[in-house]
């Protein structure tokens, strides 16, 4: 415990700005991953344990695309679209076979996919760490804010995640397709009887949820070292986020992801050995007080 260091950081605006920006990028990346997980669970009722592997796939696809094209935009789009496509294929040929089966069966199938993805990455990229490096478009002087410095890429990352999150929320709440998707989550038989191809829609929702993991991987690639197995820790953290925020709630995922981001960033200074304990502790408290999560709906069915 070093609460003194925490207080001295909070009282220095430079340190506070740095840590807040760190908290925000951790939080927004988690938000991207967790909102995809939450969307898939909310509509299809399955927990995609392979979601972390999809995040890793997004990072590696972005890495290789950037190596080939030197364009970050191309890398980002390839990461998102590539993982979206992987998600659709995975839903159609793998996870749809175990819908309605025991959750252990689903877990086993996803675990197999995780192992396959990790090995594929080792075969294609090698087992060693990879660094994408900062794309040239972001080789800008850092933003100075109250004495602290925020890298230009961080500003982009936070902004891009917010825009994507807002777009997702608007699509679900305001568009006709979003209304159909919400109806699908509640009564798929009825949606089918109204003339909507629910099989196709399930695949599309799974693809979009997966694409969000791909987006997070692509956004993370310039700031993180890439390794096989990098998906595991973010998977666990996004479970914590969805449990705290409430499965199926996009706004809940945002709040919980920021909570985890701030705990991680400031915990690293104040209680570095207890950061994980703190995160699980918060999850336990939410589970005790409101088992459906902060903004999760009570299960009525």
């Amino acid at each position: 415990m070093n609460l003194e260091a925490l207080f001295s950081c909070l009282s220095s605006s430079a340190c506070a700005v740095t840590q807040v920006s760190t908290a925000l990028i951790i939080g927004m990346l988690l938000f991207m991953v967790a909102s995809g997980l939450s969307l898939i669970f909310g509509v299809l009722g399955v927990i995609n344990f392979a979601h972390g592997a999809f995040y890793m796939a997004g990072a590696y696809i972005a890495f290789f695309t950037y190596q080939a094209t030197s364009s970050f935009l191309a890398a980002f789009l390839a990461g998102a679209a590539g993982v979206g496509l992987i998600g659709v294929i995975f839903e159609r040929f793998v996870i749809s076979k175990v819908y309605g089966k025991d959750i252990l069966m689903q877990l086993l199938v996803c675990y197999a996919v995780i192992l396959i993805f990790d090995d594929l990455v080792k075969m294609v990229a090698g087992p060693e760490y990879k660094m994408m490096g900062m794309p040239e478009v972001f080789a800008l002087p850092p933003l100075e804010l109250a004495g602290g410095f925020v890298p230009a890429y961080y500003v982009f990352m936070i902004g891009a995640s917010l825009v994507i999150g807002l777009g997702l929320w608007l699509a679900i709440e305001k568009t006709r397709m979003g209304k159909i998707v919400r109806a699908l989550a509640i009564n798929p038989q009825m949606v089918g009887a109204l003339g909507i191809n629910t099989t196709l829609l399930y695949a599309a929702v799974f693809g979009i949820g997966s694409a969000l993991a791909g987006v997070a991987g692509a956004l993370a690639a310039p700031t993180r070292t890439l390794t096989p197995g990098m998906g595991l820790s973010i998977l666990i953290e996004s479970f914590i986020v969805t449990v705290i925020g409430g499965m199926g709630s996009i706004v809940g995922a945002l709040i919980a992801a920021l909570l985890i981001g701030f705990t991680r960033a400031f915990g690293a200074i104040g209680f570095p050995l207890f950061v994980d304990g703190m995160m699980f502790g918060m999850m336990a408290i939410v589970l005790i007080i409101k088992p459906s999560g902060l903004l999760g709906r009570e299960v009525t069915r």
Binding site: R176, K179, I180, R182, A183, I186, N187, Q189, M190, V191, G192, A193, L194, G195, I196, N197, T198, T199, R297, T300
Partner: protein, 228 residues
């Protein structure tokens, strides 16, 4: 005469492992309101194991429910399955669909003219509506898909008598507009007031079929099968 509009031929239907229809033949002509008495569930979402279901000459049995809907069958389930957390308006928006020949005469404006009570509660959550209002909404929602035939599964079930009357008025309005309706009901008085034709099913087989006028005057059938 041309083949009937909706034609069920030699259908064996099972509910789980028990057979509930035995070789049933049923024909509904365009514009008719056919009451199906003594039978709990129409096509529902359970396809027949044997036999044919044709709509306008198109075979429907065994196809996925969305294709059956797109072929022109508008299914209104029992138990008023509205989307409870969608507003009334959003329930209708979800169901927007063109008819099988591209017709789109049913839209929200038209629905709100025919169902003025729904117009007054457009933004209310469907789960907060009364049972009768939810029943109207399920019918309205299915109409949004511009079906050729409306299948109504026990629309009077579990509703107060005065509400049943309102639903009856509504179905009569639709009938008079020329909508083809197949109505599965237990409540005979309800059927007598709105149907043009009736088919009575007993122990999974058709025992009587005629116009509603004939049924009204056929006390033997009413007493034997409908426990009046």
């Amino acid at each position: 005469m041309a083949a009937p509009f909706l034609h069920v031929e030699a259908a064996d239907v099972y509910y789980g492992s028990s057979q509930i229809l035995f070789g049933v033949d049923l024909a509904v002509e365009q514009g008719q309101t056919m009451a199906l008495l003594g039978f709990k569930m129409i096509a529902g979402l359970a396809p027949p194991r044997r036999g044919k279901i044709e709509l306008g000459g198109q075979e429907l049995a065994g196809r996925p429910s969305y294709k059956i809907a797109r072929a022109g069958i508008g299914y209104v389930p029992e138990n008023r399955q509205v989307f409870p957390e969608h507003s009334v308006d959003d329930n209708l928006i979800v169901a927007v669909k063109k008819g099988p020949r591209g017709d789109d005469h049913w839209n929200r404006e038209r629905i709100y003219e025919v169902f003025p009570i729904l117009a007054t509660m457009k933004d209310r959550m469907a789960g907060r509506l009364s049972g009768g209002e939810q029943q109207m909404l399920t019918i309205a929602r299915t109409l949004m898909g511009n079906p050729d035939v409306l299948l109504l599964d026990e629309p009077s079930e579990g509703l107060a008598p005065i509400i049943v009357q309102a639903i009856g008025d509504l179905i009569r309005t639709l009938r008079d507009m020329g909508v083809t309706i197949l109505l599965a009901e237990q409540n005979m008085h309800f059927c007598l007031g709105i149907a043009t034709h009736a088919t009575v099913i007993d122990k999974g087989q058709i025992v009587y079929r005629a116009t509603i006028e004939d049924l009204k005057h056929n006390d033997a059938i009413k007493q034997r099968y409908l426990a009046v």
